[in-house]
């Protein structure tokens, strides 16, 4: 294993240091390295963050390898500064057995771009009818701790209650995709002034908020851990804030796209803006940013959802929901949260690495940079600016909603377990 | 505006009135009176000229001379050379064109294509007994076998020169000028 020294880099504290990496760990973290290293990397102008952890990634394998594979998805993750991703369960077949979750983790290991944790389905085939083998997945080699029917809501109250209770035995968490199905039959976009004008079936905020309200009460009742995926409305933020004030063990995530993009973009009818939950109003965006700043929303998760071109090059209603986001997440967070003064870099490290790892029980990930810690490191230059070009995304699918938007920042170097996955903005061949 | 090339005024206020009066007399003479006449002007300026001619003929013959407007836009063969043009209302006086001697009136006779379109447009309206053509200026360069029955002034021009007719109803002044070729 080669050794590396990153010079002239700033920690989130603002302290300028040199970071020495050898044997998979951080050997040194001081203003002047005492040992010698084989490779010297320039970190000037950059901030060193603990490797980012994404609690919500759709890698699409097995089943939709035309959209993304574990290999291509984790490579995109590495490019975005991630050293760990949680692969969502809505694959084909669904990740509802030990076999599938182990396969996903093994593929991740073979790819070697970042660590892959598998999310297990809550119900068999995501059908919401009977509980998947949660224990088998938890005790498998994949060590599943996060369970989610994401893409679908565990809408049956009794099923949700049982799942919340059951995962407690292995310290698991249920990550809820909060969407009342009856209120959102054929829903196409946020219900409000824009949907009224465009004649697209409305997706009311209450469809999300009602489920979150129910679930925090259920979590409180059975004293379990609940995580809310992709919070998208101001009302949801209020409910979670209230739940936390009552001591309910709930965590929540927000996606980069919900922090930046509003539903008036749908006026183009371009399905690159079609996503579940839908883009909301600018008031919602403001509330989400405040929620992330004050800790009501714990983390940023990408909900990276690749789709091949043909699933988006059609009428709005016929198009698939979802956007890719791994490669642009940190830049969007800088634009919406750091450049606006809402978060410090230390808080970014918390929201994008430390806390997501904690929620997902991702051992060896999300550890603040310190001597002896695993060398999962993202070196990020916040001073660079770049207009997003869809075709330049290395994800297998190019369905980014940020095309044409000028985003700040650029990931310069990434280390995963001591090995570089990116050096000087170039992916390192593996 | 007109780099180096002079703008030459070829007809002035009085000249146009005189030309119209002469045309009016010729129309009466040729048709042995003004009975059965219908003057149809081609927008924009032809329409005003038709109204003036009708008035002059009417004052000579002491009777109302019916006149109207014939929009030719939908029959033009050069529609694709420019953005779509607004239609001008076609106004046909009560009584229509059937059995009438229709005198088409336009400001400038050039390629003849406008008149070709006017004849087609007139065909939509009905079947006159006879169609004649009166123009204020004939500047030559015909591309179709069309000639005017009444001409205010023959004006030899080169094909790329621009003949601009102004009439007081919309241009505040009666005059005809020839402008250099490169002007737009």
């Amino acid at each position: 294993m080669s050794t590396y020294l990153i010079k002239d880099v700033e920690l989130v504290s603002g302290e300028k240091v040199e970071i020495g990496i050898a044997d998979g760990v951080i050997m040194e973290l001081s203003n002047k390295a005492s040992q010698s290293y084989e490779n010297i990397l320039d970190g000037s102008g950059c901030i060193a963050l603990p490797g980012l952890v994404d609690l919500h990634t759709h890698l699409r394998e097995p089943g939709r390898e035309d959209a993304e594979t574990v290999l291509t998805g984790t490579r995109a993750a590495a490019r975005g500064g991630y050293t760990a991703v949680f692969a969502m369960a809505n694959t084909d077949p669904v990740a509802d057995t030990a076999g599938v979750v182990e396969q996903v983790v093994r593929l991740g290991k073979e790819a070697g771009w970042c660590q892959v944790f598998a999310v297990g389905a809550v119900t068999k085939d995501l059908a919401g009818e009977s509980m998947a083998e949660l224990g088998a997945m938890a005790h498998s080699a994949a060590q599943v701790r996060v369970f989610s029917d994401d893409g679908k809501c565990v809408s049956d109250s009794q099923m949700m209650r049982r799942a919340l209770e059951y995962v407690r035995q292995f310290d698991g968490v249920v990550a809820q995709h909060a969407q009342d199905p009856k209120l959102t039959v054929n829903a196409q976009m946020n219900e409000g002034t824009v949907s009224a004008r465009l004649g697209l079936r409305g997706w009311p905020a209450v469809a999300e908020e009602a489920i979150i309200a129910r679930d925090v009460l259920l979590a409180s009742h059975v004293k379990s851990r609940l995580h809310i995926c992709h919070v998208s409305t101001a009302g949801s933020v209020d409910i979670i804030r209230w739940a936390k004030s009552r001591g309910i063990d709930v965590t929540a995530e927000v996606t980069p796209h919900h922090l930046l993009l509003s539903d008036d973009l749908v006026e183009s009818y371009d399905p690159k803006f079609k996503v579940n939950p839908p883009l909301r109003s600018s008031e919602d965006i403001a509330a989400l940013r405040m929620g992330l700043a004050d800790g009501t929303i714990d983390i940023v998760a990408t909900d990276h959802a690749p789709h091949p071109a043909e699933d988006k090059e059609c009428e709005w209603a016929g198009a698939a929901n979802g956007m890719i986001g791994l490669e642009t997440a940190l830049s969007v967070v800088q634009k919406t949260m750091v450049d606006t003064g809402l978060l410090t870099w230390s808080q970014v490290a918390d929201r994008m690495s430390i806390t997501p790892a904690k929620i997902g029980r991702a051992i060896g990930q999300g550890i603040a940079l310190a001597v002896g810690a695993p060398a999962n490191i993202t070196i990020y230059d916040p001073s660079k600016n770049k207009v997003v070009v869809a075709q330049e995304q290395i994800s297998k699918s190019k369905n980014t909603p940020f095309e044409g938007i000028d985003l700040p920042g650029q990931v310069r170097h990434v280390f995963f377990q001591g090995n570089p996955t990116m050096i000087s903005t170039e992916m390192v061949a593996r | 505006m007109n780099a180096g090339k002079p703008v030459k005024t070829v007809l002035e206020q009085g000249d146009i009135s005189r030309a119209l009066t002469r045309i009016a007399h010729e129309i009466i003479e040729k048709n042995r009176g003004s009975e059965n006449l219908l003057l149809l002007g081609i927008p924009t300026r032809g329409a005003y000229l038709a109204a003036r001619l009708a008035k002059i003929i009417g004052s000579i013959d002491k009777r109302e001379i019916p006149n109207g407007v014939l929009d030719i836009t939908l029959h033009r063969d050069d529609l694709r050379s420019r953005p779509p043009r607004a239609l001008t209302p076609t106004v046909i006086p009560t009584g229509g064109v059937e059995g009438k001697i229709v005198v088409l009136v336009d400001d400038v006779l050039f390629s003849g294509r406008t008149i070709r379109a006017a004849l087609d447009a007139l065909g939509e309206v009905g079947r006159p007994a006879q169609v004649q053509l009166a123009v204020l200026v004939d500047r030559g360069h015909r591309q179709l076998p069309i000639r005017a029955d009444y001409v205010g002034k023959n004006l030899p021009t080169s094909a790329d020169e621009i003949v601009r007719v102004s009439i007081s109803e919309i241009d505040e002044i009666d005059q005809i000028v020839i402008a250099g070729a490169n002007e737009s």
Binding site: Q188, E191, G192, T193, V194, S195, A196, R197, L198, G199, L200, R201, G202, P204, S268, Y269, D270, E310, D311, K312, E313, C314, E315, W316, A317, G318, A319 | P43, T44, R45, D71, L74, H75, L79, R80, S81, R82, P83, P84, R85, A86, L87, T88, P89, T90, D107, V108, D120, G123, E124, V125, R164, V165
Partner: protein, 320 residues
């Protein structure tokens, strides 16, 4: 020397929202001229000779298709009717592929009827030709609104003028109505006051951003208006609990003889068709002296001729 159009239309007609006041008036005034010609014994004009117009219909609508076809043919355009009803929209690709095929065939304009909102906007992004929205999902139906305004103006206004000061009510399933959306925009553009009347379940959330008033009481609105436009109500809406029964709907929101008597003398009754007689409108109202429903159909051809002429009659819209 000839009069140039100062007002040009946008390249496509996708939404009334793309038009300004002068453009809307230009269409109505042009339609008025063309209506005169349509009344003449010879009904064919050479204007669009050599142009190819495709009627691409993903939904059955004989009435709209025939109207566009008649308009195109009166202007001597070549018309290709392409019925794609039942083609899969879920798999997506079909509309784009069809667009590319039509372009390869040299279509100068595509008249699109589609069950999904925004389909015309999407099509416009995939073709060089002109796209005319002939109804997309629950979004818009611009030529319907134009012919409605044209019909209203013929009775209550005059050529060259707008509908300033007129009060028009739109009654019925506004939520699912593309006709209502286009009409609200156009009537407002032309200076009219619009009152929507419907049960709250059939009024979209977000209506407060529309330039309209909303009422749930038809009897209070009818005496105030210069025209009332009844929208088609589909009985399927009953299954989704938008209202309890067609009988209750009809009792609360249908136009019947008693209600017709509330209208001012000279107030107009419109309906975009096809009508559910006995549901949203009774036969006496549909066939009564105040009804201009048949005129709407006739005027449709003139208005569509105007749209085709203004979009295709010049140097714009030529496939590159």
């Amino acid at each position: 020397m000839s009069l140039e159009v100062v007002t040009e239309l946008p390249r496509h007609l996708l939404s009334i929202g793309d038009l300004n006041h002068d453009q809307a008036l230009l269409i109505l005034d042009t339609a008025e001229e063309l209506a005169k010609i349509s009344d003449a014994p010879i009904k064919k004009l050479p204007t669009l000779r050599g142009r190819t117009i495709v009627n691409l219909f993903y939904e059955d609508s004989t009435r709209t298709r025939i109207s566009f076809e008649a308009a195109a043919k009166r202007l001597s355009a070549d018309v290709i009717n392409f019925s794609a009803k039942g083609s899969s929209v879920s798999k997506g690709e079909s509309l784009k592929d069809t667009a590319l095929t039509l372009q390869a065939m040299g279509a100068d304009a595509v008249v699109l009827r589609h069950p999904e909102s925004g389909a015309a906007n999407r099509l416009a992004g995939w073709t060089n030709g002109v796209v005319i929205n002939a109804g997309d999902g629950t979004h818009e139906h611009p030529t319907q609104a134009l012919l409605d305004a044209f019909t209203i103006r013929r009775h209550l206004g005059s050529v060259g003028s707008d509908l300033k000061g007129k009060h028009i009510s739109i009654v019925g399933d506004v939520l699912h109505s593309r006709v209502a959306r286009s009409n609200v925009l156009l009537l407002n553009l032309l200076g009219a006051k619009v009152t929507l009347v419907a049960p709250p379940t059939l009024i979209p959330v977000g209506v407060e951003s529309w330039p309209v008033e909303v009422s749930y009481a038809i009897d209070e609105v009818l005496p105030e208006v210069d025209a009332v436009m009844m929208l088609r109500v589909q009985s399927e809406r009953m299954q989704n609990s938008f209202f309890p029964s067609t009988r209750e709907y009809s009792r609360l929101f249908g136009l019947n003889l008693d209600r017709m008597n509330l209208l001012q003398k000279g107030a107009l009754i419109l309906h975009p068709g096809p009508m559910n007689r006995g549901l949203e409108i009774s036969a006496e109202c549909a066939d009564g002296v105040q009804s201009v429903i048949l005129e709407q159909v006739a005027n449709g051809v003139s208005v569509r001729m105007a749209v085709l002429y203004l979009l295709l009659g010049g140097n714009i819209g030529v496939g590159s």
